[in-house]
């Protein structure tokens, strides 16, 4: 039974990683084919360094991810604090339901509804080129916000309300009390929310597809490429991203289990 379950898990991992292995392999292909492997070469990596349109798309993706993550974390933290202070239960429930709409709805519906809003506003003020940097950024902040809010709210629920009252009694201004008492106790929620927002934004294709206009991000760039022909340097870029993520996560994992080991060791003394 134990062996069977190990084999089963190994097969699932094989299924998850087979396409990634193919991608890594063909990033080293010496020909421009993504079908036939003709021999090893690193030329697609040097080709990538000169592929301006792809690097521009990558830069756009990183800018949008960073900006939308920062803005949605700030807005979302304030929102979570405000929502948890709401007394009216019906209003609170209503706000929470609206918050969940972008998470529950199909991405394509969120994407086209935002596109229609931008078209509508564009028509009102008589603009032709209404889709671009601003619209992608707004769209990304909008779908990031629920994830930020929902990762902070549980932390606020665990927070002792007397703590910030004590800070106020000891002479803190409300703002100072917030940053000295509330923020440190919900910081893990804020960090989780920020990381989620950043990765969701990096990965988003469907919503960007309907709102990017002239500001192409990496996923929309790759999509338009798969409609024509795929150049293996996109495999090279994906391989670099894959290796980076993989190394970072493994390191994080090792560090975490090390610090846990230390903690249990000191506990046992």
């Amino acid at each position: 039974m134990k062996i069977l379950s190990r084999i089963y898990i190994a097969l699932i991992i094989l299924f998850l990683y087979a396409p990634i292995a193919v991608m890594v392999l063909f990033s080293f292909n010496s020909s421009s084919s993504v079908w036939v492997f003709e021999g090893f070469s690193a030329k697609w990596y040097s080709e990538l360094a000169m592929d301006d349109s792809m690097l521009t798309a990558l830069r756009h993706t990183l800018i949008i991810a960073a900006l939308s993550a920062v803005i949605s974390t700030v807005l979302g933290t304030a929102a979570a604090v405000g929502i948890s202070a709401m007394r009216n239960r019906i209003a609170k429930k209503l706000v929470m339901s609206v918050t969940q709409i972008p998470m529950m709805n199909a991405d394509i519906v969120t994407g086209i509804s935002l596109m229609l809003l931008f078209i509508f506003i564009g028509r009102l003020i008589g603009l032709r080129e209404y889709l671009g940097f601003h619209t992608v950024l707004i769209a990304h902040i909008t779908f990031n916000l629920p994830y930020v809010i929902l990762s902070i709210l549980p932390k606020l629920r665990q927070l002792d309300p007397h703590l910030s009252e004590a800070a106020l009694d000891l002479g803190c201004t409300p703002l100072k009390a917030f940053f000295k008492v509330v923020v440190p106790s919900i910081s893990t929620g804020i960090v989780t929310g920020f990381i989620m927002a950043f990765t969701l934004s990096l990965d988003d294709f469907v919503i960007s597809q309907f709102t990017y206009g002239t500001y192409q991000t990496l996923p929309t760039f790759i999509y338009s490429m798969t409609k024509r022909s795929v150049k293996p340097d996109v495999y090279a870029l994906s391989t670099i991203i894959f290796v980076t993520v993989f190394v970072l996560l493994i390191l994080y994992n090792i560090l975490q289990s090390k610090s846990e080991k230390k903690r249990t060791e000191t506990k046992s003394y």
């Binding site: 379950s5 089963y8 898990i9 991992i13 998850l16 990683y17 087979a18 396409p19 990634i20 193919v22 991608m23 079908w35 036939v36 807005l75 304030a78 929102a79 604090v81 405000g82 709401m86 706000v95 709409i101 972008p102 529950m104 709805n105 199909a106 991405d107 394509i108 519906v109 086209i112 509804s113 935002l114 229609l116 809003l117 078209i119 509508f120 909008t142 916000l145 809010i149 106020l168 409300p174 990765t199 990096l202 990965d203 294709f205 469907v206 597809q209 309907f210 996923p219 790759i222 798969t226 994906s238 991203i241 894959f242 993520v245 993989f246 996560l249 493994i250 994992n253 975490q256 289990s257």
Partner: protein, 280 residues
Amino acid sequence: MNKKSFGDRLVAAPYLVWSAIFIIVPLLIMVYFALTDANGVFTLSNFSQIGRYKKAFGVSILYAAAATVITLLLSYPTAYFMTKLKVSSQRMLFMIVMIPMWMNFLIRTYSWVTILEDNGLINSFLRSIGLLELLNVDNLRLIRTPGAVILGMVYDFIPFMILPIYSVMSKIDKSLLEAAEDLGSDSLSKFRRVIFPLSQPGVISGITMVFVPSVSTFYISKMLGDKTTLIGDSIEFLFTALEPDYNVGSAISLLLMLMILVCMFIMNRFSDNEGGGVLM
């Protein structure tokens, strides 16, 4: 004290304004487009054109349902076996399942083309071991089939099924299992009466997280599918074509949204009843 909590509530104001403008208003505008023609005159004719998209709706639901069932059947044992491992291996596996989600969906889906092509990796392998000759065919038809589209859906969304089921299962209180053992349960009835009912919330969220993106996808069918259009393909076409039809597109999107809402409502009802049954 009262003043302070009023100030606390006020900090939500920017978000409330934001969500009104960018969540609620866009949906209202979608309804407006669905109920008007190109000149902004009220009409129901957009909905009368839905008949043309009946097949796309049907095929999308069928494919997404098949993908969801297969994903669940593959993920449930995975999550269960994961909980049986050492804690450090569990965490490592959790990461291994999560890493593909950081990679671009489109590129990973596109890699399947290389694997499934008529001259792709699987067919070349079968040819080299002589199986294709044995079957007397040039190649197996793998790509541009309904199966390939469903495979793409399963592949793209399987982490969204494994991870929630695993999270719920790994939090099951071990003392419940011990209690079941003390009361004479064998491992089968322990699974059937303790683990399975308690893992329901993970299953429910996994099902919605796989079904919703599958039923509304458009890139998977474009890369791996035959000429069959899914409803996502139709919507994408109506909105990004050279001469877009926002009105019919909005009507279809509205229906898709309502359909997803109904499905989720039924799912939640179903899970509530199950929960009640467990408590008794």
